[in-house]
């Protein structure tokens, strides 16, 4: 039997049956999904989870779907990797990376939230779904909607990276480029969701959608051997992911799956769009909206809907938030790839650069068990690296040319002397 769930206003407490609705009709506050936690104590156990599929759906007892729901596309359960080389570079000792750059099917953590949202779109009988997006969500909705047979409308800022546009159109989605930033797109989406009877995953399906982010937190705990880290570093756009990882950890504690622990939450933003980190540094939960100007477009939300809750989660946990420049973001993308073999998008560069700064500033102790969340794949934002690598002239297919080439280069930091030592008299 499914763990029962329903919607509840997080301000006035009014309850609503499950329906596509995001705000309370009494006080206009956001709604969220709540569960029967007593029932979950019986179904959400380490054993039941271990016997589940190798995807985020192993946690479906605490997701808003029926207990026998089978997702048409598995998502989540991405690797948690230790990162010794990056750790050494930034002065850490016990650093892990939650690698959603390889989340399926579209290579970002948005696959998780979309899985849950579209499961509910089916239940509610929508034939058309959509979203407002900075790119990753667009890809995720387009792909999963295609497989589930939905018609799809997707609204994006007109200046979105070409790869993210192509990666939406390829699935047959109708893409609407909006002349404005994400906040303009989002506002228009909320009007559309009121006018048309469509399921917008991050508007009228948002309470369900947001629950998918909890699976990042569940996975971190399970992959650490059912324990919580000392710190997590999470990129922030709308601020939802960090609050949902927070919620996931608290649920695991409440259900007895992990020992109680105060995990510190650290938020990462780009300086060109940093309304949440600005609020954290100012010691307030009042979010002043900003006009975004950063290469980290997937984080470019100037009016973050969950900003105040993200601030609160950070402050109450004893964490902090930082923001980094576009130059630092690009360097961090390169550093992560060179040290750990993970090619992340600009948002992952934000996370990596902020993580480095948190260690440098002593906000995170060297020996702490820290997990940094990499949420997207670098193949989607290759334009951020334009001009960073020279196109080498081609050599003829001759050994002499190759030897000359080697003589002129250091390969991955290995000096020519080292190559000579290995190659003997042939190198010279």
């Amino acid at each position: 039997m499914a763990v029962s769930y329903e919607l509840r206003c997080r301000d006035c407490g009014k309850r609503f049956p499950n329906e596509p609705l995001s705000s309370c009709d009494e006080c206009f506050s956001p709604l969220e999904v709540v569960y029967d936690m007593d029932a979950a104590k019986r179904t959400f156990t380490r054993e039941a989870i271990a016997g589940g599929p190798s995807s985020m759906w192993r946690y479906r007892s605490l997701l808003p779907v029926s207990q026998d729901y089978v997702a048409p596309t598995p998502a989540g359960f991405t690797p948690l990797l230790d990162a010794p080389r990056l750790a050494k570079r930034i002065g850490a000792k016990n650093l892990f990376l939650k690698n959603d750059a390889v989340c399926l099917p579209t290579l970002s953590f948005k696959d998780r939230v979309v899985s849950v949202a579209l499961a509910n779109a089916k239940v509610f009988g929508f034939d058309t779904v959509g979203c407002s997006s900075t790119g990753n969500l667009a890809n995720a909705v387009a792909a999963q909607a295609a497989r589930m047979g939905f018609k799809t409308y997707i609204l994006v800022p007109a200046d979105l990276e070409p790869a993210k546009i192509l990666n939406t159109q390829i699935y047959g989605a109708t893409l609407v480029r909006v002349d404005g930033n994400y906040d303009h797109v989002n506002r228009l989406s909320s009007q559309i969701a009121e006018r048309f009877n469509w399921g917008f995953v991050n508007v009228n399906l948002r309470p369900y959608y947001a629950e998918g982010s909890k699976t990042v937190g569940y996975e971190i705990a399970e992959q650490l051997g059912w324990k919580l880290p000392d710190n997590v570093v999470v990129p922030m756009a709308g601020g939802s992911l960090i609050t949902k990882i927070h919620k996931a950890f608290h649920e695991l504690i409440e259900l007895g799956l992990v020992a109680e622990k105060q995990v510190r939450f650290f938020g990462a933003q780009a300086t060109g769009c940093s309304p949440i980190s600005t609020a954290v540094k100012a010691g307030t939960d009042l979010i002043e909206p900003q006009r975004p100007n950063t290469i980290a477009r997937s984080l470019a939300i100037g009016n973050p809907a969950d900003g105040p809750y993200a601030v609160r989660a950070i402050q109450q946990s004893g964490g902090w938030a930082e923001d980094v420049s576009d130059v630092e973001i690009v360097s961090a993308i390169q550093e992560l790839a060179e040290t750990e073999g993970i090619f992340t998008e600009t948002a992952g560069g934000v996370t990596t650069a902020v993580t480095a700064r948190l260690y440098a500033h002593g906000r995170i102790s060297r020996d702490d068990l820290t997990v940094a969340c990499i949420t997207g794949n670098g193949l989607k934002t290759t334009d951020a690296l334009a001009g960073k690598y020279d196109v080498e002239r081609a050599i003829r297919p001759r050994m002499a040319d190759f030897e000359e080439f080697v003589a002129q280069h250091e390969v991955r930091g290995v000096a020519i002397e080292a190559v000579s030592a290995v190659g003997g008299q042939n190198v010279g």
């Binding site: 509840r8 995001s22 009709d25 956001p30 609160r312 946990s317």
Partner: protein, 118 residues
């Protein structure tokens, strides 16, 4: 001088279905007052127990968030289109910290105890 004001679906229960009004208000405080006079049933829902306008109700003027235009200081121009939208997911807690008092884990405040389950 008048401005067109578009109200969200969430208000309609309290406005007898009215979606759109014309207003002569000169600025945001006057507009809110006018809405409350026109739709008395809405008034108690627009404000919290301290009489403050709930912070998760957003106002836009001709596509722009009114906070970028000076918020309450912005003078409406003839023909402005004002859009009222509740925050899609978040916004701020109207009552500040007092809204996170008793009960268990809420995904938004992240606390183990909040009033959500009352």
């Amino acid at each position: 001088m008048s401005v067109k004001v578009l109200l969200p679906n969430a208000f309609q229960k309290h406005t007898n279905g009215t979606r759109e009004i014309e207003s002569k208000a000169a600025n945001l405080p006057q507009l809110i007052e006018e809405i409350e006079v026109s739709f008395p049933a809405l008034k108690q829902h627009l404000r919290d127990s301290d009489g403050q306008l709930r912070r998760f109700i957003n106002f836009y003027v001709n596509d722009e968030d009114i906070r970028f235009l000076g918020n309450e200081k912005y003078s409406f121009q003839d023909g402005d289109e004002v859009l009222v939208i509740p925050s899609i997911a978040g916004g701020s807690c109207a009552d500040g910290d007092t809204c996170f008092v008793t009960y268990r884990c809420c995904s938004y405040c992240g606390q183990e105890d909040c009033l959500c389950d009352r």
